[in-house]
Structures are given as C-alpha cells and as structure tokens.
Amino acid sequence: MKKLRERAAALLDEGAVSLVIGYEEGTKRPRPLFCRNSENAGKLIFDSRCFHNLAVYVTKKELVGKERFAVTAPISTLRSILQLYVENQLSEEKLLVLTVDLSGELVEFVTFEEISAYVAQFEMKRGEREQEMLTKIEGMTREERWKFWMGEMSHCFKCYACRSACPLCYCTKCVVEVNRPQWINPWPSPISNMEWHVNRAMHMVGRCTACGACGDACPVGIPIDLITRKMMEDLAPEFGFVPGQPAKQGNALSSWKLDDREQFIR
C-alpha cells in the first residue's frame, strides 16, 4: 500500500499521469478516489474490501480528460479493462494500470497483454451468495422461476443504477432511450423491466466479467448480476471463451462455430 501511494504520488508529480483513480476509506466501505495531485495520493488504499469496479470510470471522457491517467485495479476491474480494450474503448497510451498482487507487491501494467497474462492466473469462482442463490434458482421449475423473477421485477423502478454501475454499459445512447421504435417501455412494469434485463443479459453475452457491480448497485436488491453471471457461466465455455478472459477478436455472439448446438432447431 505504501509503495502504491509513493508510486501514485511520483506519477502525478512527474506528470506521467494527470489522474489516479483508486480507493480511499469511506464511511462504511472504501469509496473511489480521484486523485489529481500527489497530496491526495496519501489517501489511497488497496485491500480485499476494494471490489468496487473502477473500470466504469475509465470510459468517462469528461472525467479522465485527454491526458494519460492511471487506475489501481483489483481483478474484477482488470477483467473489465481488458474487455473494454477488446471493444476498442481504451488505448495503452492513455491508460496506466496498477495493481497489488497477492504477495502485496505493486504491479504496473504497460500493455494489455501483460494484464491478460496476469488475469489468466485467477479463475472465476462463485461466491457463497451467488452459489446459494443460483442453486436455489437452478432448483426451481420453470413456473417457479417465472414467478420468482416477476416478483423481483415488480420491485424494479427503472433507475438504471445497474447500467451506470456496469463498466461495459458505455453506450452514449442506450437502447432504452431509443424511441423509434420504442423497444422498451420507459415506465417500470414487470414485463418492460424484464425486457430491459433480458436485453442487458443479451448485450452482456460473452462480455460480462461477473464483477457483480450491477447487483451491488441495485437499490432494491434485485439479484440481476446473477442473470448475466449465469449466462456467462453457461455460454462462455460452450462458445469456447474463457470467462473473464476476453477473446482478442469479437465476442461470443459475433463469432460462431460450424458445429454450434442446434438440437432445438426443427
């Protein structure tokens, strides 16, 4: 942590970067810190409680500006950064990525190649909560699942916190704002809510890195992160993608195999 602070301060002082995005102590849990001068670098922290996905900020032009900037990234953030890179949203020249590895050593990534090499050693695992919830859902009959989700969806009031929290929801105009045609009704209602979340899930196929940010962000606690996570878990292997390891070219949906499953096609 000390090293991290020093390095951040140094980077800012020598003007290598204009901004360091990291974590600082918050009231309940660590919160993002946007550090533009070396004094603030002292506030930086980096530990297991820092899971808030900072990648969501790296695509915000108004925030990061034109100069080079740095971000201190835990695994989840690193994964998102890789995916963003694959989707042409980041450039190595503009972004410096720092992390602290398991041995507490400060790691600095210049290229995205290095990041993917680093990330490769961590496999995605379900946390206790996900495990519990998903086994519950997987255990349900279809009707039960429908009732369960409709119940959940009836709470959603379309605040789109899930969207704002997701690093991969960087579209300047989201499909829900498209009104010619009005694909998804703007008001909250179970169906239009579900349409929104199915739509999210479809847009996340082969992209979601299961950071769980969307779920954390939901003010009414709908476990929406499970939808995208389950999709990722079920489909990534089938489509020959490693969860959390973005493919260099395209994604699960924009590519195909001659022998893709088609028993369901009559």
Binding site: K147, M150, N185, S189, H197, S255, R261
Partner: protein, 154 residues
Amino acid sequence: MSNSNEFEPKIIAFVCNWCTYAGADLTGTSRLKYATNVKIVRFPCTGRIDFLLLLKSFAQGADGVIVSGCHPNDCHYTSGNFHARRRWIAFRTVLDLMGVDIRRIQYSWVSAAEGSKWADLVNNTVADIRALGPYTEYQKVADYLEKEGFDEEA
C-alpha cells in the same frame, strides 16, 4: 378447419427472404394447406432478426413464434444463419433462466425447396401451441400498466 370454441393460437413467423420465405412460396405454388394462425414477417436474413422482436411479440399477445431461415451453409449471406443460431442459443438460455416458456419459440431451417416442410412446421407448431394453451401467464403480467386491469396472481 377448427371448431369455433377451440383456442386459436396467434403465431408470428420471422423468416429469411432467401430460403424460408421462398419455401413458403413453394408451399403455395404446390397448393399445400396449412393453418391460418401463422403470419409471416419477411427479413433479409435470420441474422437480421432482433431478439427484442420475439420478446415484444409475446408482450403484445402472441402465443407462439416461429423463427426460420436457411440451413447451415446455405445462407445467402454465407454466415447470417450461423450468427443467428448463436444468438438463439444465448436467447434461449436467458429466457429459460427468467422462466419464460421457450417451448413457444419454434426454430427451424426451411430451404426454398422445402415447401412441404414449411406446411408441416406450421401445422405442428400450431398443434403444439394449441396444446400449451394461450400464453396468459405472460400476457397477464404484460397487461399490467401496459394495459388496464392488473391481475394479482401474476
């Protein structure tokens, strides 16, 4: 064709222009008969078919949906149907997770030469959906706020 009190499912068919639409034309030219429940919407290619359209169909009261295009390797655009196939695999996975009744979406490959296959596909699908009954489970919820009269049990 069917007695009036029997449930007449409302089914929309999303088909590609080059294989299945032409196949359905052949069904006509060969004067093969099938149920009137299915109405065809024409697309350039299955690759064009947006999953949201399928979703909207149910919300708007469809009881079933047919999606059909060229057989693998026959795609007029070489790979549109392969992309579509992937999209459908994913789409089915989400829908199933959400508890949507995926038996109501019938996918198929019907080539321009398979006029009879198209007739069979329609008739079988109509029969299947009729057996499943109207998709009230979905429509009830859909009616909530989209239209008046919210039904508690949904």
